[in-house]
């Protein structure tokens, strides 16, 4: 590694100073405050009473929290790989600049511009019994209709479909940006070897964008762990709590029940969970031998 030219210089830290200020004031400080809140029995309106770790033990003993935890893990485990794979596929398919591909890029991105209220409104039309798109299709095919939004298992699946549809734009765009940064000479060399497209994909394309794959995966893990609006609006966490994600649990505890301390404790736990998941992913992907570094 040619480190010599990067003379270590404290002055270089000036580049990060503006962001670091925002980070400390707007993120780190409120986070520590919230940790402080999590040690109190407190509502939204006033000073609380110090209770130590009681809120944490209450959260961890709450079967609803544990169920929400399982739901969230399951959701992340299914939605993130789907988003990464589909995003990569679309980027590969649309990686050239013609009128057709620009049109398709715009099209696949267009769902991302919608707000969560609208996304759920749309997908409700697809899933709802009687009038919905899927029930109508099932009926035509003579299949037994499934109440997607009110059957255990299917409700979280329905939320996942809506989420993938909504969030696909970002992975696709990040992969496209990465693909376009691959130097053309790599492909020229492959062309001279008469390599098959599949081999080119595995030997050149994927290794070149390994960093982006890691980036997209981590971003998606972080985002999908924070699932909330889709579940709240499509299924309200039901039936029997099988589609209630952790953030919804936090919202119900802190805002509906005014149990701010317990809500804060749950949100610190969520923070730890996301941190672990992202770190694991980061370690796994940086350990892989990279072709270009």
């Amino acid at each position: 590694m040619a480190e010599s030219y990067r003379r270590g210089h404290p002055g270089h830290a000036l580049f990060i100073l503006p962001y670091l200020t925002a980070f400390v004031v707007l993120l780190a400080f409120p986070l520590f405050w919230s940790i402080w809140l999590s040690l109190h029995k407190v509502d939204l309106f006033g000073p609380g009473r110090f209770v130590g770790l009681t809120n944490y033990t209450r959260v961890l003993a709450d079967p609803v929290f544990l169920q929400a935890f399982r739901n969230t893990i399951l959701f992340v485990a299914l939605s993130v790989p789907t988003l990464v794979a589909l995003g990569l596929f679309l980027a590969l398919a649309l990686n050239r600049t013609t009128r057709t591909t620009s049109f398709f890029r715009g099209l696949f991105f267009s769902s991302s511009v919608l707000s969560v209220t609208i996304v759920t409104l749309i997908w409700r039309f697809v899933f709802i019994p009687r009038d919905g798109l899927i029930p109508v299709i099932f009926e035509q095919l003579g299949l037994q209709p499934i109440n997607f939004l009110s059957t255990s298992g299917w409700s979280l699946f329905a939320v996942g479909v809506a989420t993938v549809w909504w969030c696909l734009g970002l992975p696709m765009m990040l992969f496209l940006a990465a693909l376009q940064q691959i130097p053309a000479d790599l492909y020229e060399a492959a062309a001279l070897d008469n390599a098959s497209p599949w081999r080119v994909l595995r030997r050149i394309t994927l290794p070149s964008i390994a960093r982006t794959i890691m980036l997209v995966t981590i971003i998606q893990i972080v985002m999908q762990f924070q699932l909330f609006g889709q579940a709240q609006l499509m299924t309200n966490g039901g039936p029997n709590g099988t589609s209630r994600p952790l953030v919804m649990y936090i919202y119900e505890t802190g805002f509906i029940r005014w149990d701010v301390g317990k809500g804060a404790a749950a949100s610190e736990l969520l923070f730890l969970i996301i941190l672990c998941a992202a770190m694991v992913q980061y370690i796994i992907s940086t350990r892989k031998p990279e072709v270009r570094e």
Partner: protein, 283 residues
């Protein structure tokens, strides 16, 4: 040689026809719900209440859109959303580019430690900080102001992470050459590096704008005066609690109305990505 180059441009190797066909098929699945939404937005509320299949029948009407424009506050909300989204986007782009460049290509004390701490920030869910933030902004009197709506988004570690990754991907030879010319770090950043990251800037810009535009929780509890509502909050506030059954057409029209500006911003940025890349900047 030039012939070879044009035949084996990177895109031709990855974007083959069959892939494109599958993508086209997928796009139908993608678009059907959106088309449905647009269809609903040009139908009368009363008709939809009886059944949504009336979308496939005449008559169509623009009355829902006219009603949005009649609501005297829609333009004010639109204006608020624009200011907040643009302000936040500029803020995030500036902060993330500076920090990303330093983390990726410069050496300074505690660089790795600080970077890891910032990455920790990526994992902080909004719910973990929103109550404390609300109280803090209350002290500073920042509620019900554009600045108060813009600021929280600027602390997002997402942009820094993204830009760091992109700056790292730029070959080292480029700034090595510049350093030999004795250019200052600032000059290298501004004149050489920044232009190379335009695709990433565009991506980050679009997503910050989108996020700010569709943000719900923070504006809901920070902008509680109707003059300061963003479009998302304003639209939600004007719905009755029975909107899904009684005002479906109006609801859909509001959705289309609120989404259009973002789509336009995207189309605008997308053109820039294309020019930045096909200009061969990274060659």
């Amino acid at each position: 040689m030039s012939r070879d180059q044009s035949t084996y441009r990177p895109e031709t190797l990855t974007a083959s026809r069959p892939l494109l066909w599958i993508a086209a098929l997928l796009s139908v699945v993608m678009m059907a719900p959106v088309a449905w939404l647009v269809g609903l937005s040009i139908k009368n509320n009363r008709e939809l209440m009886l059944g949504t299949e009336s979308v496939f029948r005449l008559p169509y009407t623009l009355v829902n859109y006219v009603n949005i424009l009649h609501s005297s506050q829609a333009f004010g909300w639109f204006f608020n959303s624009m200011i907040v989204a643009i302000g936040q986007t500029i803020g995030v782009l500036v902060l993330s580019s500076l920090a990303g460049y330093a983390f990726a290509r410069l050496e300074f004390p505690l660089r790795r430690t600080i970077f890891v701490i910032v990455l920790f920030g990526l994992a902080v869910p909004e719910q973990a900080v929103i109550i404390a933030r609300h109280q803090m902004f209350n002290w500073f009197g920042l509620h019900n102001s554009h600045l108060g709506l813009m600021l929280p988004g600027m602390s997002s570690a997402f942009g820094v992470f993204l830009m760091t990754q992109f700056f790292r991907a730029i070959p080292k030879e480029i700034d090595e050459a510049a350093l030999l010319d004795n250019a200052s770090q600032w000059r290298i950043f501004w004149k050489i590096m920044l232009p190379l990251t335009l695709p990433a800037q565009a991506t980050l810009g679009i997503f910050t704008f989108l996020h700010a535009w569709n943000d719900y929780w923070w504006p809901l509890i920070s902008a509680t005066k109707k003059e300061m509502y963003t479009l998302t909050i304003g639209i939600a506030s004007s719905q009755t609690n029975f909107a899904q059954s009684e005002g479906l057409g109006f609801l859909s029209a509001q959705a289309v109305f609120a989404s259009l500006p973002v789509l336009i911003v995207y189309i605008f940025f997308q053109r820039h990505i294309v020019t930045a890349v096909s200009g061969g900047a990274v060659k």
